[in-house]
Symmetry: D5
Subunit: 137 residues, 10 copies
């Protein structure tokens, strides 16, 4: 398994990330960069469209991050989430893609995103992705 | 105890598992295999039949896994669970057998299945099995 | 403290325990002995009699164990608990004595029993005992 | 005790404590001293008087301990708590003083006391003290 | 620790902190300085003004700390929080600034402050800061 | 509307009902027929099949009735509900048909049945029918 | 229906009840007989034995009554309920019989007893009886 | 409609309604028209757009009705609600307009619609409309 | 009303009540006497002593009243309740006596007092008294 | 109604109320004046100042009304509530005064306002006022 880890994640994406924000959500300067502190944002009104059925999906997104030099601006974050309203995307992909966008936007020290999607057919799904990714086994 | 472990689990089932899915639940490719992330699926409508009494049993199944190259397809997962509707099977065996089937289906990095069965005679049972199995003491 | 541990628990009770069940609750063979998995049983209708006041006591028992070669049979477990209905026994002793009986019955790898007793005089008591006992400090 | 405080806890207060109970709450012998097990007692009807305002304070006390040779007798414990009914004492001091008294009474292996005091002026306070005290930073 | 602090966060406020209280909240002597114990204070009626919109913000503040030689006096703490009533301040800054003021006031061994702000535009924010700051990544 | 009532419910179905049980659920004699009292039975494990999709439906049935000369026997009631396990039937029809069967079985003075069906497509349905039917508007 | 009422309940049991207590629970004089007020007593630890299976049943009894000249004495009430501990009796009969005994004991102006029995076979039963009985339809 | 409003409801709108469905939601025949029974449908995933701000609104709709000759078909109902996804409409108008559409669709005997909209600016709104309208004061 | 009071409960305290406050709790003038409105006060920290056992009792008092010319002053009300702290009094008497005192203090149009006493011996009691008393049966 | 108002409460504000809005909160035209429907608004962030102690008070306001020709505009309503932020006013007066202002603002058919104020000294107060006022006793 050590082998897989070597080949698939050779350069640890963290180091490849430029230090300056370059993502779709606006930021403002973190006034307390000398302290590792945590910001949790709960957005219970996320909605997108299921690409298979064309039916709307609903989820509560929970974001937790430790800012480095920038914090996410809440209004810009809200508008970014709204851009998914009529987009077709699967649960697993939406959660990972949003995390990637947010990491690019504010370059946090750590960030975790959980998407808890409403039940369909009596079955509900929750996807949790973390940056930097925990090491595989 | 080390001795028991040697004889009973000599070849650690993990390594014996082929890399390609071969189980009863359909999958789709994981688009984010470079990141260890977690998918939780809650299925509160599982029902089977008690082999001793012939009475129906009801349970909430909670599945948590880290996908490797494949993710479980939810509709196929739902139909698979429905195949237990009229099958006679004990709590402990159902939980372990479903876990085995799901591991064979999507070859996850890690997977835990919990079956919380409704009370019978005033007593309720919850069974939790994990892959790869934690090492015995 | 190391000294006390030496004299009081010299041979770690685990090793003294015979490999075959010999307790008051019936068992059935564990079909998945190669995997360490957990079974939780909640029995909210336990009742005994307080030896001091002669008044009935009520408790919710929560049992969690990892089976080795045998699992506890639920009906036999229920009847065993009912044998306490008219017996006088203190909270602390009941929890420890039941744990001992269950360990002798199914020889688990690990087992924890919690007895949460209803309040008396505005004060409620919960006793938790574990096998094998955690090492003292 | 002041002495020990000066030298920053060099000798672990445990050893200074005599092995026999000498506190205000009666005890009974622990019948399972060979096993480290936990007893939790919740007393939601604690009341004392605020020494500053003369107004009554109310709290829920939660005690968790691992008995050594003695267990606290519940009725004696209840009467002990009632002795605070008309006594003026601050939250922080009450929690620490009661812990000290209970440690002296039953000489436990470990003990934690939490006093969750009702809100005053829209602000509520919870104090948690542990024996033996965790090491400072 | 001093070494890491120097290079990564050169002016680390921790080391600059004088041993005596010098902050805006009054204190009283801790009568149990020889024991590391925890005090939790929940203040659900915090309100300030959003500097961007001029609209009032509402939050529940949860403070947890281990006192050293001084404890925070609750009435003074309440009045201090009320001083934010008509002040314009962002969530992230309010939480960090209050923590700094409380650390300066009572010189605790450890302190954590959580500000859980009410939702705006369907999105709620919770900020958690700790002293001394956990090590950065 | 008066017209419809005349033609559809001309003779109030109650009077047409024979005094003796003739339904699919067994009964036992009511020992307190001189008192109007209420029996409520909650069956949270009802399952049938959706005739449109072939997918299983799940519901909690809540029955409330005032017995006349007979009470429903619980085991027979349970087996009767299980007879729907593999039957295709709509929510509205299932609730009304079960009520009819239970009325025929025990000839109650009053009876209400509520079927609270699990959500499908994010929408849940609850059907409530009463005997004798309340008068239309 | 008027006919049935005539033959089954000809003499309305209320009037036959003597004015003085004559039941199994002790009473004390009501000091406020000039005011209709309500006393509610909740006894969550009722247990009896199922006459069919020999298995113990558990219920929460909720009694609400308006005293006339006497109030039920709580300790005597508790001992009375304990007399059912090893008695075989059905849910419906237990609730009605206890109500009768309590009415005879304290001659209330109004009294309602609800017995909420724990689930058996996934189905729970609640029986509610009232004195004086409401008039049938 | 303006006309009827002028004359203060002289002709009770019910009589003006044609007996046959003519609204946007499909129906199926009610198989139990001789009984007044109630159907409750909860749709927690309603979303529309605020016409003032252009921001999305979210609400839980709860519909309760007594069918006459037709019942609402759930899938058609779901698609109808989805047609509001990108439409700008106020809370009060949405609730009344949907009620009107549903009444026209299935001609119920009675119908109530409640729209519980998520909070905006810390203030939440719930609108409840009923058909036929209760008489004004 | 005077007529019924004369024959059924000859001395009905209501009519004897003078129009001006004369009870132990201070009042302030009601500024909205032209409107019947309701004030509810919840006091969860009531404590007295059981006259039989000498043990403390605890209760939550809930007062609801419609003021006439005077409203109860909250601080005076709190001090009045504290006067029961060390007084021996039964549940039923305490509730009725406090109601009488409060009626005398503020001469309300209507008043209801509920005392919900903590469980003793596993049984809890709630007493509810109303002024003016509802008509007896 | 005017008649009753004249004799019992001579100056009954209701009759004096002009048909057109004249209060401090803006309105918009009700598009469904022909139907009596209900609007409920919950504002959990109300805060004012206690005129006696100078300390801030906090309350959740719940408004329920049936509009006539006008509905309250939410943003204007929010700003109106904020005007109390630094005003000294008692609970009872605030609730009645706000109700009066809202009635003058939108001339509703019916309106009820409940102010649930946070506890002070362990005692919480809820005031409920209704327009038009219910008849006095």
């Amino acid at each position: 398994m050590a082998k897989r880890a070597k080949s698939v994640r050779p350069a640890k994406p963290v180091s490849a990330v430029p230090a300056e924000p370059s993502g779709p959500v606006d930021c403002f300067p973190n006034r307390h960069p000398d302290r590792d502190y945590e910001i949790k944002i709960v957005a219970p009104e996320f909605t997108a469209v299921c690409p298979r059925t064309g039916q709307p999906d609903f989820a509560t997104l929970t974001l937790t991050y430790t800012p480095d030099k920038h914090c996410l601006e809440l209004k810009s974050f809200k508008l970014y989430l709204q851009s998914y309203r009529n987009r077709g995307i699967f649960h697993e992909h939406a959660t990972n893609a949003i995390l990637d966008d947010l990491v690019r936007s504010c370059r946090p020290r750590r960030m975790t995103l959980t998407g808890a999607f409403n039940a369909r057919g009596g079955i509900s799904t929750t996807v949790t992705a973390t940056y930097p990714a925990p090491r595989g086994s």
